[in-house]
């Protein structure tokens, strides 16, 4: 996401937002998944009355609490940075983007924060059933909050359900349901929360295998592994399914991102999917951007065509086609044409605003009727409004290497996790999991891999969308707040120091709590 660390305002603003988002996303997926795992564990405790299950639940709940607080803290920064660093964007889309954010607060955050207090402090104050209900509501609240922010993010990837109002110079919502059920939103929500479940499962699995390696907490470790492995296996299979859907949607709404994910430069039929690949510089260029070639790759023949269109004869456009266009039956509009369309739309808007300033009512009426109420103008020109701000066609291409590697790293790790969960269940059923130390080590070392995969997904989503903050409508360069670059640089450094310090404290506390283990909780009861 951070491609150039120069002193420009846009780059520092991007760096600050990326920094906050990356730190925030270290904590959120664990909250999403661990909340459900805890709820399942507590349900078993309430149903069986076995105090060991209570001990187990409370142990994971302690780790949940450590992670939860810092997730909330970084979340508030992220929400307000939309305003502080991207004020032009906030106005341009606030009418649409603000709604999910407000609903998130009213509907989800209060649910989460109200019942998390009961969950932590209510063990001896409320009934078992009320406590269990609170734990489930925390899980529901946490995941509901993810829904609304992902709906907002999906809209940035695929703006739907709105129209441009020239009087207010912004996009305005015309269909809430179109925004909520945006195909990108549905895929993104399911893919993201299940990837959170997956990460939390690996977290529980890895820590439990560490207990087995240390030959302690056997009862708790094995039961935690069982729940995490089953929950994780279901989640990882769902992640594959939703990921596939997500990729199909991207291929139609963000074709350049899709081509960059595969480093696919030249369109053709029967295109293979790269299962594994290493990129190298080709020496050729698209504009001023280097074309990447493969030093090595393993391909699944025809699979990319099948994935996007259902059969291997499907034509998959490459980056070059999408930049320079294709005037055959495929009719791919070049970026240069889109820039022309966008410039025309921008000029019309400028004329309209000038007419308003001088109160030229005749001109206002003419422009409004001839352009802004004309579907052809909106479909052929205004949809490319953002292109007016691009300097050259190649600017529409994101960082291919970053998109390619983040995508493939995520996918490869995703399939590895499926295998990990299958082996966990198998060894547990055989009753020999504690004897296979090699496996216990692999499970433990998989914890950081889950975080890498999770962050890689967001790097792809956000870096792959560049140069847009809102696909085709607004580039990031136009969205930034007009403050000095040195101010943003200063706050970037302050946030970087503070986030890092808090992360160090979080990891240190977490490791101590894990090392202390669940017995400690019982001793203090």
């Amino acid at each position: 996401m951070i491609e150039h660390f120069d002193m420009s305002l846009v780059d520092w603003s991007r760096a600050q937002f990326a920094l906050t988002a990356i730190y925030h996303w270290i904590f959120v997926p664990l909250t999403l998944g661990l909340s459900f795992l805890i709820a399942i564990m507590e349900t078993i405790y309430v149903r069986t009355g076995n105090e060991e299950w209570k001990r187990l639940t409370r142990f994971w709940m302690t780790l949940f609490g450590i992670n939860f607080a810092i997730g909330i803290a970084t979340g508030i920064i992220l929400e307000f940075e939309f305003g502080t660093n991207w004020s032009n964007y906030s106005w341009f889309v606030g009418d649409i983007f603000g709604t999910p954010l407000a609903i998130e607060g009213i509907l989800a955050f209060f649910l989460e924060s109200t019942f998390v207090a009961v969950m932590f402090f209510g063990w001896n104050k409320v009934s078992k059933k009320f406590h269990l209900t609170s734990t489930w509501l925390v899980a529901v609240g946490a995941n509901l909050s993810a829904l609304w922010i992902l709906v907002a993010n999906a809209w940035m990837q695929n703006p739907v359900g709105m129209t441009f109002n020239p009087d207010t110079a912004r996009n305005e919502m015309v269909s809430f349901w179109a925004v909520l059920f945006n195909p990108v939103a549905v895929d993104k929500f399911l893919h993201t929360i299940f990837s959170g479940f997956l990460l939390a499962s690996i977290f529980v699995l890895g820590i439990s295998t560490w207990f087995l390696l240390k030959k302690r907490e056997g009862w708790i470790a094995k039961r935690s592994i069982l729940i995490a492995a089953i929950f994780g296996l279901i989640s990882s299979l769902t992640v594959v399914f939703t990921g596939d859907n997500s990729a199909k949607t991207i291929s139609s709404v963000q074709p350049v991102k899709f081509a960059a994910m595969e480093a696919h430069y030249y369109g053709s039929e029967n295109v293979g999917l790269t299962a594994f690949g290493v990129l190298k510089r080709s020496g050729k260029k698209i504009g001023d951007k280097e074309i990447m070639d493969f030093a090595f790759r393993i391909r699944i023949p025809g699979f990319l065509s099948i994935m996007t269109g259902g059969d291997k004869n499907t034509y998959v456009p490459g980056i070059e086609d999408l930049v320079y266009g294709k005037e055959d039956s495929r009719q791919i509009l070049s970026v240069a044409d889109k820039i022309r369309q966008g410039v025309f739309a921008r000029d019309v808007l400028n004329h309209y605003k000038k007419a308003i300033m001088v109160n030229d009512t005749g001109q206002i009426r003419v422009i409004k009727n001839e352009y802004f109420q004309d579907k052809k103008f909106l479909n052929e020109n205004f949809r490319y409004f953002g292109y007016a701000s691009l300097m050259k066609p190649e600017d529409a291409v994101p960082n291919v290497a970053l998109s390619f590697y983040s995508f493939h790293l995520m996918v490869i790790l995703g399939f590895f996790f499926i295998l990990l969960f299958i082996v966990s269940v198998f060894l547990l059923m055989k009753g020999s999991i504690a004897k296979h130390r090699w496996f216990l080590w692999i499970a433990l070392l998989s914890i950081p891999l889950a975080y890498i995969a999770s962050e890689a997904g967001w790097v792809l989503a956000e870096a792959g969308r560049q140069p847009w903050i809102i696909q085709d409508l607004m580039p990031v360069t136009r969205a930034v707040s007009q403050i000095s670059a040195s101010s943003v640089m200063t706050t970037f450094i302050l946030f970087a120091i503070l986030f890092t310090a808090l992360l160090i404290a979080e990891v240190s506390i977490m490791l101590r709590q894990i090392n202390t283990g669940p017995k400690h909780s019982e001793d203090k009861l």
Binding site: A102, I106, K125, A169, L498
Partner: protein, 376 residues
């Protein structure tokens, strides 16, 4: 039904929701008020622990209300969100920093291996406790006193000074409201401790400090209120020029909206009643009067800022750029959609009340500080 709902009604409705959230936020800042006294109020470590745990069990409500306040502002008045946050950058960043360190401080302060030591996290709580209410109060004061900004024809904000919001600290009226909010938060914090913590010595200490904090609150609040009533404000005329200076604007607002004035007066009386019954009658229920009074008073003050054709975010350098509930709001469709969403608020309030009651039905005692394993 929907055809009867006008755009103007929705703009007023959403300003009322914002005002209500603001009232709730200021009340819930009793958490910050309590935090600001964690070094000065307790007589020993156990008392400090009880104060931290009393506040710590509610910090997320304040945090969530702040997030919702921001989200609701973004959704209903996005031009304010874009203008104020993007322009008064340093004030909002300072507020964010103070809340960032609060969230983790509770969870980490007493945990072993927290790297920086308990004292560091306690200082974080103190900083958030003092700076959070003061800065929010100062920022809100600019809703009346104005800021130095202008908007271009695409509504992009250009801030008039390189201080990006910090210049608000040069206006005594802003400082006065900031301090009033801080001392109100401390007053409410003390009243909450009296209501929640069962410890005679701590209670006696709290009552003693209550007098000083309540007096400070009253002095700064009255200073702000009197200067506000005597000062000029901007009025949206709907004609040309669109925005003009009106002398005694906010006094006129009270006179033109007697219902708002009565609500405001009732709020102030409730605040004073809560303080009074605690000091003079030894009651421990003062927080409910003062809390309700805080919500109502802030609610009325926000209505004064936004209703009666006022500019709720005045520009002192370019009157035409000032924000009103008319020019800063979301579209009719969005406000209407969100109005339906807002109908869920009573349900949210009901479950918060229930959960709050369940958790608070047993007072915090020194014994509990040695029994429970999830302690701050």
């Amino acid at each position: 039904m929907t055809t009867m709902i006008s755009y103007v009604f929705l703009q007023h409705y959403w300003w009322m929701i914002i005002s209500l959230l603001a009232g709730l936020l200021v009340f819930l800042m009793f958490v910050q008020g309590g935090q600001s006294m964690i070094f000065s109020l307790p007589g020993n470590e156990t008392q400090k622990k009880m104060i931290v745990n009393a506040m710590g069990r509610k910090w997320e409500f304040t945090f969530t209300t702040l997030v919702t306040f921001g989200g609701a502002f973004f959704a209903s008045f996005p031009l304010f969100y874009a203008t104020s946050f993007g322009g008064a950058y340093w004030v909002w960043i300072a507020i964010l920093f103070s809340f960032l360190i609060q969230a983790v401080a509770y969870e980490y302060r007493s945990k072993p291996a927290n790297v920086f030591g308990q004292k560091t996290f306690d200082i974080f709580l103190l900083l958030n406790g003092a700076l959070g209410p003061f800065l929010i109060g100062t920022a809100v004061a600019t809703f009346f006193t104005g800021s130095n900004f202008s908007l271009d024809y695409m509504n992009s904000v250009k801030w008039g000074t390189g201080w990006h919001g910090l210049e608000a600290l040069l206006d005594t009226r802003n400082i006065a409201l900031g301090l009033a909010v801080l001392f109100l938060a401390r007053t409410n914090g003390l009243l909450y401790i009296l209501n929640t913590v069962d410890d005679n010595d701590l209670s006696a200490r709290s009552v003693k400090r209550l007098v000083l904090n309540a007096v400070c609150f009253l002095v700064f609040f009255l200073f702000f209120l009197i200067t506000l009533m005597l000062s000029a404000g901007l009025t949206f005329t709907g004609g040309t020029p669109g925005i003009v200076v009106e002398h005694y604007k906010y006094l006129h607002n009270f006179l033109h909206m007697p219902a708002v004035f009565i609500i405001f007066l009732a709020g102030v009386i409730a605040v004073l009643a809560g303080i009074g019954i605690t000091i003079f009658k030894g009651s421990r229920k003062g927080i409910w009067y003062t809390g309700a009074g805080t919500i109502v008073t802030v609610f009325a003050l926000f209505l004064v800022a936004g209703f009666n054709n006022s500019t709720f975010y005045p520009s002192v350098s370019n009157f035409g750029s000032s924000l009103t509930i008319y020019n800063a709001s979301s579209s009719y469709f969005t406000l209407k959609t969100m109005m339906y969403v807002s109908f869920i608020i009573p349900f949210v309030a009901a479950y918060i009340w229930y959960a709050w009651k369940e958790i608070n039905k047993k007072k915090i005692t020194s014994e509990e500080m040695n029994e429970v394993d999830h302690l701050y």
